[in-house]
């Protein structure tokens, strides 16, 4: 059987890609949402890996919930994206700096 660290390493790579995606994203806010999906995917993979190697189904239950919440988050995130676009005419991350101190 493939050692668990292989899976964990893949998941870590995906996590890193997700984080990098948020930091170096282009001008599109939707990429940020996709990066978040990547990060969640890597977290889910971790859960499943441990669930498998520890023989504990609870890990999979958590993945189930995370998927549910992620779906809800994606729905609401996209809804917000839509009204943002309606208000400003673009979804460029560079111009979303209302929080600037």
């Amino acid at each position: 059987m493939i050692p668990e660290s292989y899976f964990l390493f893949v998941s870590a790579l995906l996590f890193g890609l997700g984080v990098a995606g948020i930091i170096i994203n282009r001008k599109n806010l939707i990429t940020v949402l996709m990066s978040i999906e990547l990060i969640l995917l890597s977290v889910n993979t971790n859960f499943i890996t441990f669930s498998y190697f520890l023989h504990n189904t609870v890990g999979q239950v958590f993945v189930f919930f995370i998927l549910t919440v992620a779906a809800a988050e994606a729905a609401i995130g996209l809804a917000i994206l839509v009204i943002l676009f309606r208000e400003r005419g673009n979804i460029e991350v560079d111009q979303l700096n209302t929080l600037r101190g």
């Binding site: 964990l8 890193g16 669930s51 809800a72 673009n90």
Partner: protein, 199 residues
């Protein structure tokens, strides 16, 4: 020792990482979404390797079938500009790359560190009649039945919220404004005109 299992693992891992890279590096958002779908597919294959058949299928059906489709719909509705690199990003890119590499390294280190490492656990052979679905269901509907219901409520709320957020204020909808009704004066409604007045 290269077994077919390893081959499958390497193949789908490589595919997942490659498509992951393409998600953040590709030229257009549409392509990014499609690469994300590919990532999900490959990862679901890895999940199958881990005996999580139900979740692997859910990932493909629900995530790829529903959520990614949602992304595509939204992308179609929005007028997306060409994906340009942010100005000055090239200068910082090596540093960000280094940072991310460090993060990955640290995560890898921490996950394979002795106390956390699972090498000490011997993987038991899976029983021939192991049923992932029954296994998951028996936990989900017993110990986690209330969180399960809550998850359903969260989905409902997400749906309601998404509709409420994106709904354009209907111009033709008939609503009352009690404040305006209370504040109304006689002269707002009635105008006395002298008989024969040209005005």
């Amino acid at each position: 020792m290269i077994t077919p299992l390893y081959l499958i693992f390497y193949f789908f891992s490589a595919l997942a990482v490659f498509s992951g890279v393409m998600v953040i590096a590709s030229g257009s958002a549409m392509r990014s979404v499609l690469f994300l779908v590919l990532t999900f597919f490959s990862m679901s294959a890895l999940w199958l390797l881990l005996n999580a058949e139900f979740l692997a299928l859910i990932l493909v059906l629900v995530y790829v079938g529903a959520v990614m489709t949602l992304f595509l719909f939204v992308l179609m509705m929005l007028r997306t500009s060409a994906m340009r690199w942010r100005e000055g990003l090239a200068r910082y890119l090596p540093w960000i790359g280094l940072l991310v590499l460090m993060l990955i390294g640290v995560l890898a280190m921490i996950l394979t560190k002795e106390p956390v490492s699972l090498i000490m656990f011997r993987v038991l052979p899976v029983a021939a009649d192991y049923n992932n679905l029954a296994d998951l269901g028996s936990v989900l509907y017993t110990s986690y039945v209330y969180p399960f219901e809550l998850a359903a409520v969260i989905l409902l709320m997400a749906m309601v919220a998404a509709i409420a957020l994106t709904r354009t204020p209907a111009a033709f909808s008939k609503t009352q404004n009690p404040h305006q009704q209370m504040a109304v004066k006689v002269r707002d409604r009635l105008k006395l005109i002298k008989d024969g007045d040209t005005q």
